[in-house]
């Protein structure tokens, strides 16, 4: 795996609080990579370290083969950390021109093109003090993309956006990864959105890595066969440890291809099967299991 970011035992403490606690992680080049975790898991702290805003207490990381906070590397990263804020007296166009100047590309960047791309063409000359959160997010996205970076880091990119905006953002992120060859790393609490657009995810919990892998691999492990049958005790006795009674149903941890055989066997054993369906199989189940310690079976029971 060709890693765009390699993190080794990264720790960041704020007083007594450990925001990152010996985190090790490799993020591959290309595609969309999701960083998940509950509030306080260390996602924003990790991003801030990667962007040279704060320094780690200990540990190492390399970004595109260079040590942390290397200026030339940082210039190849586009980023949006939480909802961006701009000086209130600037217009949307001024805001991008200001950042383009700081980047040394005051004349090269066509800021109007980027304002149009994020749907802010009509608001180009409006002062940002009147912008909604969603408009600020769009402006932040334009600022992060206008320098045509190799790596884009987005923290809650759809926060405060309306459904059409979320849809546009999703398309834009996939487009960047698939057509422009940009590696996109994003953090989001919207698990369905992450499941739709990310190729791989890492789940952080209390500053540590709780789970990491391809979205399809992680979600497959949380699929359960939800059976409504009587008598439940007999079903449990037949299946054994692979089954768990939850309420008036039973969750069975088997492979999909074994479903028909199992039901046939239960019927032959005089079990009445009223309903059989697959539940779980999504990031929410993985997330709840990894961050809250909720057993996957219980999570799946609440998913339907």
């Amino acid at each position: 795996m060709n890693a765009v970011i390699s993190i080794e035992r990264l720790t960041k403490s704020f007083g007594d609080v450990r925001a990152l606690d010996g985190l090790s992680l490799e993020i591959p080049q290309g595609g969309v990579y999701g960083i998940l975790g509950p509030n306080g898991a260390g996602k924003s702290t990790l991003f801030r370290i990667l962007l040279g805003l704060i320094q780690p207490t200990s540990g190492h990381a390399q970004v595109m083969g260079y040590p942390l906070a290397h200026t030339e590397t940082l210039r190849r990263i586009g980023s949006m950390i939480e909802t961006p804020r701009y000086p209130a007296y600037l217009t949307a166009r001024d805001s991008l021109q200001w950042l383009a100047a700081a980047h040394g590309q005051a004349t090269q960047i066509d800021v109007d093109h980027w304002l149009e791309r994020v749907g802010l063409k009509d608001a180009a000359d409006r002062k940002v003090r009147g912008f909604s959160v969603g408009m600020m997010q769009r402006l932040g996205l334009a600022a992060s993309l206008m320098t045509r970076p190799d790596l884009v880091i987005l923290d809650e990119p759809t926060s405060g956006m309306d459904p059409p905006g979320i849809h546009e953002m999703r398309s834009l992120i996939r487009d960047l990864a698939e057509n422009d060859g940009v590696t996109v790393i994003l953090a989001s609490h919207q698990l369905l959105e992450v499941q739709r657009i990310c190729d791989r995810v890492a789940i952080l919990n209390r500053g540590r890595l709780a789970a990491e892998g391809k979205v399809s691999d992680l979600t497959e492990a949380t699929e359960y066969l939800h059976l409504e049958a009587t008598p439940l005790a007999k079903v449990k006795e037949i299946i054994g440890d692979a089954a768990e009674i939850v309420g008036d149903a039973i969750l069975v941890n088997i492979r999909r291809e074994d479903t028909a055989g199992l039901i046939r066997h239960l019927v032959q054993q005089d079990v009445d099967v009223m309903e059989a369906r697959w539940v779980g199989g999504d990031l929410e189940a993985v997330f709840m299991s990894e961050t809250l310690g909720v057993p996957e079976a219980e999570v799946s029971a609440h998913v339907d």
Binding site: I81, P87, Y89, D94, A102
Partner: protein, 282 residues
């Protein structure tokens, strides 16, 4: 690159109309207008007094030498009013990225050293605006006053005087930057525009009072300790020397070193601090 950081700061500041007005325009324009009215009021009062006098008093109307006016005004450029209002701009530039939480937008685009030095140099460039404007407005104010008083105006400006006037302007500029350097350091250290404004004001007021107190204890303006500890004294010594005052050359050198020390030390400290600062809570 450093030039990019400077360009970005100047661009952003050019859009900040409120700070432009209060920090750069109010004092030069206001003091010129007030000066015209004050001189006119004084002249009218004198003329009334002369008219009601039993003796026939005549108020002399000497010609105004524009060269002398410019030199006098230049020597007084870095006054407390101009410095106090210019500090608004200096503090705003120094700490606005903490105020707007915009370090996270701009930090990845340039090195920390360039970004903070870019602010310092942008402040130095912008400082030329109120100083130049103040000089121009005061000169025009004097011309208007002379016209209202029916005084003739002559332009006498010898080469030596012109050279001294340019150096006076440079010294006034350095004094302005010295106070602004404190704003830069205080802005970074306190992460606030308010801190960037109040701390240099307090330091200036404190050193002014202390200098006055210590002068009674043998701290005269020729001594190293005085010129190194009190940059305002160093500025005054240099302006006096340029105006033709009997200041020993050695004292001038000490004054230059004192002024430069107060410019360089806070700037270096601000850079050192900023390069180590966490920008997580701007």
């Amino acid at each position: 690159m450093l030039i990019d950081a400077i360009r970005a700061e100047l661009f952003r500041f050019s859009r900040n109309g409120t700070v432009w007005l209060w920090s750069l325009l109010v004092i030069p324009l206001g003091s010129a207008i007030v000066g015209i009215f004050a001189r006119q009021f004084l002249m009218t009062s004198l003329q009334k007094a002369a008219a009601s006098s039993p003796a026939s008093l005549v108020i002399p109307k000497a010609a105004m030498n524009l060269g002398d006016v410019i030199t006098d005004q230049t020597a007084q450029l870095a006054g407390i009013n101009l410095l106090a209002f210019f500090l608004i701009a200096a503090a705003t530039i120094s700490a606005s990225d903490y105020r707007w939480e915009s370090w996270r937008l701009i930090r990845p685009r340039n090195s920390r050293r360039n970004l903070i030095l870019g602010k310092g140099i942008a402040i130095a460039v912008i400082a030329l605006v109120p100083l130049s404007l103040h000089l121009v407005c005061e000169t025009f104010g004097r011309i208007i006053s002379a016209s209202l008083e029916n005084r003739s105006i002559v332009i006498g400006f010898e080469t030596k005087q012109a050279g001294a006037t340019v150096l006076m302007f440079v010294v006034a500029w350095l004094r302005t930057l010295q106070v602004a350097a404190l704003a830069l350091l205080a802005g970074v250290a306190t992460r606030s525009i308010f801190g960037g404004y109040v701390v240099p004001m307090a330091v200036s007021a404190g050193t002014f009072l202390l200098a006055g107190m210590l002068s009674g204890f043998g701290w005269d303006a020729n001594q190293w300790r005085t010129l190194l500890l009190f940059p305002a004294k160093a500025h005054d010594v240099l302006q006096s020397a340029l105006a033709g005052g009997p200041i020993p050359a050695a004292t001038n050198v000490k004054a230059i070193i004192g002024l430069m020390f107060w410019l360089a030390a806070p700037t270096a400290l601000a850079v050192w601090l900023f390069e180590r600062q966490d920008l997580s809570k701007e």
